[in-house]
Symmetry: C2
Subunit: 141 residues, 2 copies
């Protein structure tokens, strides 16, 4: 749980003016590693900030992304999710419960064929399957 001073400072470091809405949105992402959609962020924060507009959430998340403060996670068609974690990691989506899990992988060992003389800027590893919890639920039926 980061305090607001720190959040403000991190926004400034990314060249983003720390408005109240921006602070609360970034704080939400940092404290809830659930890779939320715009709608999820909006619904949660609208309780705290009744005047919040969904457009602000769209604009803010896009702004964060452009300033490389967060990344979008594109594991499922028809929904963009956001992630404030900045270490290298992959994403697993459980096709049963819909949850998204982080995982680590040995990215340094990855070798590519067919990309000679290409510039690689961003690598994403996505896996779909059934999470442990859903797997065990299924067993007990």
């Amino acid at each position: 749980m980061k305090i607001i001073q720190n959040i403000s400072a991190e926004l400034l470091k990314a060249d983003i003016k720390p408005s109240w809405q921006r602070i609360k949105i970034y704080e939400f992402l940092l404290n809830n590693n659930i890779h939320p959609t715009v709608d999820t962020v909006y619904k949660k924060l609208a309780k705290e900030i009744p005047t919040l507009s969904k457009t602000t959430v769209y604009n803010t998340l896009k702004l964060f992304e452009e300033h490389h403060l967060i990344k979008n996670v594109n594991i499922e068609e028809n929904e963009i999710r956001y992630d404030a974690q900045n270490h290298i990691h992959g994403h697993f989506k459980c096709t049963q419960c819909g949850k998204i899990f982080d995982f680590k992988y040995n990215y340094k060992d990855l070798k590519y064929k067919g990309l000679d003389d290409f510039i690689l800027n961003q690598t994403d590893v996505m896996i779909k399957g059934i999470c442990k919890s859903c797997k065990e639920k299924n067993k007990s039926n």
Copy 2:
């Protein structure tokens, strides 16, 4: 370039009745490894099949996917692309020209941490960057 007899047979093998539209759509995917969107498939085939409906393209591609005949490639938000290649490979999207390239990688060497007791059904590796051709174009400016 596969002949229609073969395409028909492959559809049947996947438990899909080979209608004329389905044959032409699958043929298009096999002959054009460009990871097209629904709209691209539609526009190309509409010239040959003037009565073709975009809904048919949507339905057919979804049907193919459900029968594991093709995969969707989800490298860019706001557009679903399709791929009839069934060997394991990753996708590179050039953020300059928009083209999508296949590449091979050493998937057998990949190790994961955090997915113990998870069931892994499908792994996708996506990379964004600048392709060789665009890189060279940029140099000459």
